[in-house]
């Protein structure tokens, strides 16, 4: 059984177990699946061309024809929110996937080899950790110009130490347990110990961290777009839409900012709830 299958199977099982007992988890799953569907099919689901201007009146309030209203160029906000899902979600996904993989690899390497390797890895971890994610992202923008790519990669790096610290601590603890010594004495190969025993032991923590990281990455990237350093108008990125809707908000038409904001909040909330529950279930399962 491959690690991925193992992970997938375990996580799926835990999620299934959680959902049957907890309506909140069902709601969270619904939101997460919904957002995933929107990310994949958003463009197709959009009732209007998200970038077409004057598809409706300018800055119209929500109505049957335009459920979320229209923005200052007469674009349909619902269509833009739908089309904006993918760019808003892909960034955080890249951040957490990359940082989780890198962080886990770094953390496990450090814990596994210990000594000088651990020393160097720990220094690297501390170094990156010392530069706040937002600062690293801003630095990246200053170097490579605006757009989401640079901040996304910067955040992916900035999140590495968080994962690496967690995994390093977890791996050290796990490696210290007698069953690891037992496996060693048995003559089980290093790769087998690592991938069949150590990695699965760390997966729940990694998964939990990944969900939390997703939320933070989403907030950070949206903030970067809000600051005008990330995705650029007229992109239908949620952060850009929230920022772009500010004048309308002050003018009394909150929907241009609030609908995309609602989706940011809902997505992060749902992912956080899932992460928290999965952690709880995994912890209970361990005991």
């Amino acid at each position: 059984m491959s690690v991925a299958q193992l992970a997938g199977g375990r996580v799926a099982a835990v999620v299934r177990k959680a959902a049957t007992r907890d309506p909140l988890v069902i709601a969270a799953v619904v939101v997460v699946v919904g957002v995933a569907v929107m990310a994949v099919f958003g463009q197709a689901l959009a009732p209007y061309d998200p970038d077409a201007i004057y598809v409706g009146p300018v800055s119209a309030p929500p109505s049957l024809a335009y459920p979320f209203g229209t923005d200052d160029l007469g674009r349909d906000i619902l269509s833009r929110v739908l089309a904006g899902t993918a760019p808003s979600v892909i960034g955080p996904v890249i951040v957490v996937v990359a940082s989780s993989l890198l962080g886990a690899a770094l953390g496990i390497t450090a814990a596994w080899f210990g000594g000088a390797v651990d020393g160097i890895a720990s220094r690297v971890i501390e170094l990156i950790f010392a530069i706040p994610g937002l600062v690293l992202a801003v630095l990246a923008v200053a170097m490579f110009g605006k757009g989401l790519l640079a901040p996304t990669l910067a955040l992916a790096i900035a999140y590495v130490p968080i994962v690496a610290r967690l995994i390093r601590a977890g791996a050290r603890q796990e490696l210290g347990k007698p069953y690891m010594a037992a496996l060693h004495i048995q003559g089980v190969g290093s790769a087998a110990i690592c991938f069949r025993h150590l990695v699965p032991a760390l997966l729940p923590a990694l998964f939990a961290q990944t969900t939390i990281g997703f939320g933070y990455a989403m907030l950070d990237l949206a903030a970067i777009s809000f600051l005008g350093l990330g995705a650029q108008p007229p992109a239908s990125d949620w952060g850009v839409m929230i920022a772009g809707g500010q004048p309308a908000l002050i003018a009394g038409a909150p929907e241009q900012s609030m609908f995309p904001a609602l989706f940011v909040v809902l997505t992060v909330l749902a992912v956080n709830v899932l992460g928290a529950r999965v952690t709880t279930w995994a912890e209970r399962g361990e005991r």
Partner: protein, 319 residues
């Protein structure tokens, strides 16, 4: 001072210096990795003639070997010469100095809010029964999903359009007026962290409430409030302190969002503005400054933890 604290202090100082050195190298190399010629940026806005290019290269030591440039930069930073802004053509120090105050005030204000409401609600959740716990849990779940800038624009909307109790622009003048002006920005920055601290505090306090040494105190008839203060909260505090350094340091970076939304001329807004304008010298110095803040605050937090918990300074046996 006990040995553990001394060891932490000494170890921290060494780590601190090394991390700062490495961070300064990383931040410095940003210039080298940046695509494009810094000369264009330095000439900024005027057609550079070859002589001008020559002059700029010489003035900014662009023809020196990289390590010399680094030493020059670091030397400058250490002696207070922070370089010249690409955009403003002035000393970076002159740009930064007047802005530090307001950002520090904003961060401190936010930290106080976080301490009061984050730790407070965490304690309530841990000690006031399942209902309070549930209420706080719901509140913090939402709080953890609220982006700072969404809170900011919501507050602006509410206070600018409806209530008008607090100003929604600027940093004010004088201490009290500044506090008044920074209230909404501080709230918008604090919400996320209040939720975070509430969770951390709750976890730490619950962990201690069920700790065996608390049982001991209970059998011995120590009054509840005293048990909470001296045994539960004190013992929970290292966990809270452990995230405090990171948080407060992080606030210096995230303050950019509130500063932008509320039109405050602070360090954060300067950082974003400089990044947007590719004003690398400014970005570098502020980044380095934030790293220093981070490293120092974390070291302070670690030392505080070591004072409370001498064992934290001791390496653990791991086999």
């Amino acid at each position: 001072m006990n040995a553990g604290v001394v060891r932490t202090l000494a170890g921290k100082l060494g780590e601190l210096a090394l991390t700062l050195f490495l961070a300064s190298v990383v931040i410095f190399s940003a210039v080298l990795l940046t695509p494009g010629d810094p000369v264009a940026a330095l000439a900024g806005g005027i057609r550079p003639t070859p002589e001008l290019i020559e002059a700029i290269r010489a003035q900014h030591h662009l023809d020196d070997p990289v390590w010399q440039q680094y030493l020059h930069w670091v030397g400058g930073v250490l002696t207070g010469d922070l370089g010249t802004s690409f955009v403003y053509k002035t000393d970076v120090a002159a740009l930064i100095a007047p802005r530090i105050g307001v950002t520090v005030l904003l961060v401190l204000y936010t930290a106080v809010l976080i301490a009061i409401f984050g730790i407070g609600s965490g304690v309530v959740a841990a000690t006031r029964g399942p209902r309070a716990d549930r209420a706080v849990l719901i509140g913090t779940s939402i709080g953890m999903a609220m982006p700072t800038f969404v809170v900011a624009i919501l507050l602006i909307w509410v206070f600018a359009r409806v209530l008008g109790w607090f100003p929604v622009y600027g940093a004010g003048e004088g201490f009290l007026d500044s506090l008044y002006h920074l209230t909404l920005p501080a709230i918008s920055l604090a919400v996320l962290y209040i939720a975070f601290f509430s969770r951390i505090t709750r976890g730490a306090v619950v962990g201690q409430l069920h700790a065996e040494h608390v049982d001991t105190a209970r059998v011995r008839g120590i009054p509840r409030s005293q048990i909470f203060r001296r045994h539960v909260f004190l013992n929970a505090s290292p966990q809270i302190l452990a995230v405090s350094g990171v948080t407060v340091a992080g606030l210096f970076a995230t303050s950019a969002i509130a500063e932008q939304a509320f039109g405050i001329g602070g360090l954060g807004s300067l950082l974003t503005e400089a990044a947007a304008r590719k004003d690398l010298p400014v970005v570098q110095v502020i980044s380095l400054l934030l790293v220093v803040v981070f490293v120092v605050l974390n070291a302070v937090a670690d030392i505080a933890i070591a004072v409370i918990d001498p064992d934290s300074a001791k390496p653990r046996r791991n086999a």
